[in-house]
């Protein structure tokens, strides 16, 4: 069976590639930018890699995964499709369409029903693995994109802005887990040094849930800011959050908090201006 297929690949490689490309073009309702020339190139590479793969003598259902050239060809193809925005179904179907092209080539050499059936079974075993691999690669490719995006999101969503002379603000959006806290703290402490800031406002208007873990992370950040000699104000404490924090039993009384960012800025400016002429220490506590 292997020999028959290898021979067919040798003798009719071009024909198979043509047919495969044709089948993919037919299937391809996929709105991708992958043109016919590129499909043809992929097809030639994969078919070329199939021959040494088949000659390697490993069990048929492991040919695709154990032959480096073939593995690379399938993975490369799937990656390109994933990036071009093809659906995983379209991608695996494209790989599986090679079966039909191959069978057609074998059909030219023999009309013996039994032999054709055996060929079909053989090709199924050979290429189903390729279809699965293609799907897996596709998913991996997408996950890679998601990972990268979530990383980017984490950096983008923690900007440190200068609100006033020596006053910085960090508007937090989303949740505050350990990783986020780390990013926020690094950005904020660096900015405090760069701007010689005296007050940092952390605005939690965009934080939907403040539980004990988030509160702890906030306290950590406040402590770090204080170690740098600056003061910290937490703003954006909504009524529902205030009630919840109080009921949880978290003591934030050592931290200066304000309901809105505007109030926090007012408090911050007061802090900077220092004690008034009458010795009033403002809200500094």
């Amino acid at each position: 069976m292997r020999e028959r297929l290898t021979r067919a690949l040798h003798e009719r490689g071009d024909e198979i590639a043509d047919r495969w490309v044709e089948l993919q073009m037919e299937q391809a309702l996929l709105d991708t930018d992958i043109g016919e020339a590129e499909l043809r190139e992929e097809a030639d590479a994969l078919i070329e890699a199939l021959v040494p793969g088949l000659q390697s003598g490993v069990p048929v259902d492991r040919v695709v995964t154990s032959s480096p050239g073939l593995h690379e060809a399938v993975v490369g193809l799937s990656m390109r499709r994933a990036r071009a925005g093809a659906t995983p179904t379209a991608t695996s179907l494209a790989v599986l369409a090679l079966k039909e092209a191959l069978l057609k080539a074998v059909q030219r050499d023999t009309r013996d029903a039994e032999e054709l059936f055996a060929s079909a079974v053989f090709m199924n075993r050979l290429l189903d693995v390729a279809g699965a691999l293609s799907f897996e690669t596709y998913v991996d490719g997408r996950e890679e994109i998601i990972r990268r995006q979530s990383q980017q999101l984490m950096e983008q969503s923690t900007p440190v802005v200068r609100l006033w002379r020596q006053v910085l603000a960090v508007p937090l959006i989303g949740t505050l887990d350990t990783a986020r806290t780390q990013v926020v703290m690094e950005n904020l402490l660096q900015a405090i040094q760069d701007h010689e800031a005296l007050v940092a406002i952390i605005d939690i208007t965009g934080v939907p849930t403040v539980d004990t873990a988030v509160a702890q992370h906030l306290m950590q950040t406040v402590n770090a800011v204080r170690l740098m000699g600056a003061d910290c104000v937490i703003s954006g404490v909504r009524p529902s959050i205030a009630q919840t924090i109080a009921q949880l039993g978290i003591d934030l009384s050592t931290i200066l908090t304000r309901a809105t960012l505007a109030d926090a800025l007012a408090a911050a400016i007061k802090l900077i201006d220092g004690p008034g002429p009458d010795g009033d220490e403002g809200d500094g506590r």
Binding site: K99, T209, S240, Q247, G249
Partner: protein, 159 residues
């Protein structure tokens, strides 16, 4: 033909029960808590459930926060577990949301201590369990050394 057969897309599943009258509460749903991201999923699911049940904003925040505390406990101390959402009704017809948070961890050796504010075996603040009790209307714990922990909390709507 060697191509694979049909791909059926389950786009037309059974219709979701209408949520307007609230006669038929949603079926209980379970969420795994194995990673930090799962906590996020749980919070989102609980938030959606509180809206579904018809809680006000403060109660929504309370229940989501309690869920966050308990789920994190299961994740940190219990080595992961599950959060199940149920939609009970009390005899007076009030709607409620019940969270069943279960883990197969080492269990809580001293429950009274664990409920005391400031008590912690880890690096947390030690307000999680007691805080969750204060945030919810009903609270019960089943635990023991080596038996895992199951916390059941319920909050009822006011009518």
């Amino acid at each position: 033909m060697a191509l694979p057969g049909e791909f059926t897309l389950a786009s037309r599943g059974p219709k979701k029960p209408s949520r307007t009258d609230g006669r038929r509460p949603p079926a209980p749903a379970s969420y795994p808590v194995r990673t930090e991201e799962d906590l996020l999923t749980v919070r989102h699911a609980v938030r959606a459930a509180t809206v579904e049940v018809g809680f006000g904003l403060v109660d929504q925040t309370r229940v989501v926060t309690a869920a966050s505390e308990l789920a994190r406990n299961a994740y940190v101390h219990g080595g992961g577990g599950t959060v199940t959402l149920e939609y009970p009704r009390d005899p007076r017809g009030r709607r409620g949301l019940r969270l069943v948070v279960k883990d197969e961890g080492p269990g809580i050796a001293d429950l009274d201590a664990a409920l005391t504010d400031g008590f912690t075996t880890g690096s947390g603040l030690g307000h999680g369990l007691g805080g969750a009790r204060r945030l919810m209307d009903e609270f019960s714990v089943r635990t023991g050394p080596g038996e895992g922990t199951e916390v059941v909390v319920t909050r009822w709507t006011v009518r």
